[in-house]
């Protein structure tokens, strides 16, 4: 029963994000701050993980190609497919559910605990719009992070492949170009937009509606990470079935 209630409350919150908008002069700096915190602040970790995971994917593929009949360009091909279709949009989004999600839940949750949200409501401000809308807008730029993850993942694979002695640069690039299907990018970025929506709203929900004190802020962050990850995986399965199945 509590799950049904939470789902209902979540959708009412989604509606409230767009009701009674805050003045643009107040909202603009909030959006810029959230772009800085959520997007720019995530670039370092995304770049680091993407580059090295791309390298690992290339090495693993090369090490598992034991049959001499298999073409050398398969390393580049497999790395490209893994990175573009799953690693960059899905795996990075799950990492971001931890990084961005816990930041969003704990910052909104702390505002709840310290009565800052009550202060907004007493002033007659739509607190959900004030707090969640800037995050929603900031995460429209989330595909930018995923593009960088794709590029650095493939670059990491190239460097690991060439400098690790697993294949030549020509073979790797040939693999990148082999059977390239542009729709895979459409699929990847469509997923990314849906994940961005989940990343902005589910952690906000758990922060906004939390009850209790500092301990509960920690619990809410954990719960928010779990449910954001679960929803990303379920939606990923659904979208893959619909778009590629």
């Amino acid at each position: 029963m509590i799950y049904l209630q939470n789902i209902g409350t979540y959708f009412i919150m989604i509606k409230d994000i767009f009701r009674r908008p805050t003045k643009w002069s107040v909202m603009k700096p909030l959006i810029l701050k959230d772009i800085d915190d959520l997007i720019i602040g995530s670039l370092g970790i995304v770049a680091f993980i993407s580059f090295f995971v791309g390298g690992v994917v290339a090495i693993q593929t090369a090490l598992n190609m034991t049959n001499p009949m298999m073409p050398k360009y398969l390393v580049g091909f497999a790395t490209r497919q893994s990175i573009i279709l799953e690693f960059a949009p899905t795996f990075i989004s799950i990492i971001m559910a931890g990084k961005m999600g816990s930041f969003i839940t704990s910052s909104i949750g702390t505002m709840r605990v310290t009565e800052q949200i009550d202060a907004l409501e007493v002033m007659g401000i739509n607190a959900i719009n004030y707090l969640v809308f800037p995050k929603f807008i900031a995460l429209i730029l989330y595909p930018f992070i995923i593009s960088i993850a794709m590029f650095l993942g493939i670059l990491g694979g190239l460097i690991a492949c060439v400098y690790g002695g697993y294949g030549s640069m020509e073979d790797y690039i040939e693999g990148l170009q082999t059977e390239f299907i542009p729709f895979h990018f459409v699929y990847a970025f469509l997923k990314t937009f849906v994940f961005a929506f989940l990343l902005a709203t589910i952690p906000s929900f758990y922060g906004y509606f939390m009850k209790g004190g500092a301990l509960e802020v920690g619990k809410a962050s954990t719960t928010s990470f779990v449910w954001t990850s679960v929803m990303i995986i379920l939606v990923n399965f659904l979208l893959t079935s619909l778009l590629l199945g």
């Binding site: 107040v26 009550d118 202060a119 409501e121 002033m123």
Partner: protein, 255 residues
């Protein structure tokens, strides 16, 4: 003036407010007092419109809150200033930005006009040099004064304070009490304070509403509270050893 009639509020099976009728007068500091768990905070949150109530009515200068349209409620809220127990200052903003916040949200003033008003209000609460500090860099007493400045910056008609003295030393608590009293007189506003601090009762309690178990057990002023025979009130008022000794001395002197 704020009038409350037969106010009932429950959470599930727990009946917290059991029919409170009272009024809070303009230009006076009105205190709601009572033990922890007596329903003070729930009552205050009902007055602020943060909790919906099941029965009864609350009217602000004749306007019944529940009968107001969403726009009228928003307009009314712009006339309300609130000082929260923990100050509830926005961590991400400086003290000046915190005080300026209601002006940015509800007025069309230019930046220089807003800055002038912030300067006036921060001077009024004796914080002329705190503009650029973050709330975390301010002491508890300073935070309370900033919260008062933020509450009065938009010239409210009603000022609510939830335990404004909690966590403060007795000297700072008196400074805060006097500041609230002075602001109430100066701006002729309706001030409602939720407190269980007997010093506040003595200092500024022009009207006192005593709650017990969700009911109004007594009402009066700081002049009459020490003379009442109401046992519930005397139990509360003389619960501290200091007040017990003061009362004993008073009785001995008058015998």
């Amino acid at each position: 003036m704020i009038e409350v009639k037969d106010l009932h509020k429950s959470f599930g099976d727990a009946h917290i407010l059991k029919g409170i009728t009272t009024s809070f007068e303009k230009g006076k500091t009105n205190l709601i007092i009572g033990q922890s768990g007596s329903g003070k905070t729930v009552f205050l949150k009902c007055l602020l419109g943060l909790f919906e109530y099941e029965e009864g009515s609350i009217s602000y200068d004749g306007k019944i809150f529940n009968n107001l349209s969403a726009d009228d409620r928003r307009e009314l809220r712009a006339d309300i200033g609130m000082v929260f127990q923990g100050s509830a200052l926005f961590d991400s903003m400086t003290i000046a930005e915190n005080v300026m916040f209601p002006l940015r949200m509800f007025t069309k003033q230019s930046k220089s006009e807003m800055e002038d008003r912030v300067n006036v209000v921060l001077n009024r609460v004796n914080l002329p040099d705190a503009h650029h500090k973050k709330p975390s860099e301010a002491s508890g007493g300073m935070q309370k004064r900033v919260a008062i400045a933020r509450a009065i910056v938009n010239r409210p008609k009603y000022l609510f304070c939830d335990e404004p003295n909690s966590g403060l030393d007795p000297k700072t608590a008196i400074v805060i009490d006097n500041l609230i009293q002075e602001i109430t007189d100066e701006f002729n506003i309706t001030t409602v304070i939720n407190s269980h601090d007997m010093n506040s009762v003595m200092e500024i309690g022009e009207k006192i509403v005593f709650l017990k178990d969700g009911l109004k057990a007594w009402e009066g002023s700081n002049e009459t509270i020490f003379k009442t025979d109401n046992e519930v009130v005397t139990d509360f008022v003389y619960s501290s050893n200091l007040f017990k000794k003061v009362r004993k001395m008073y009785i001995e002197e008058n015998q």
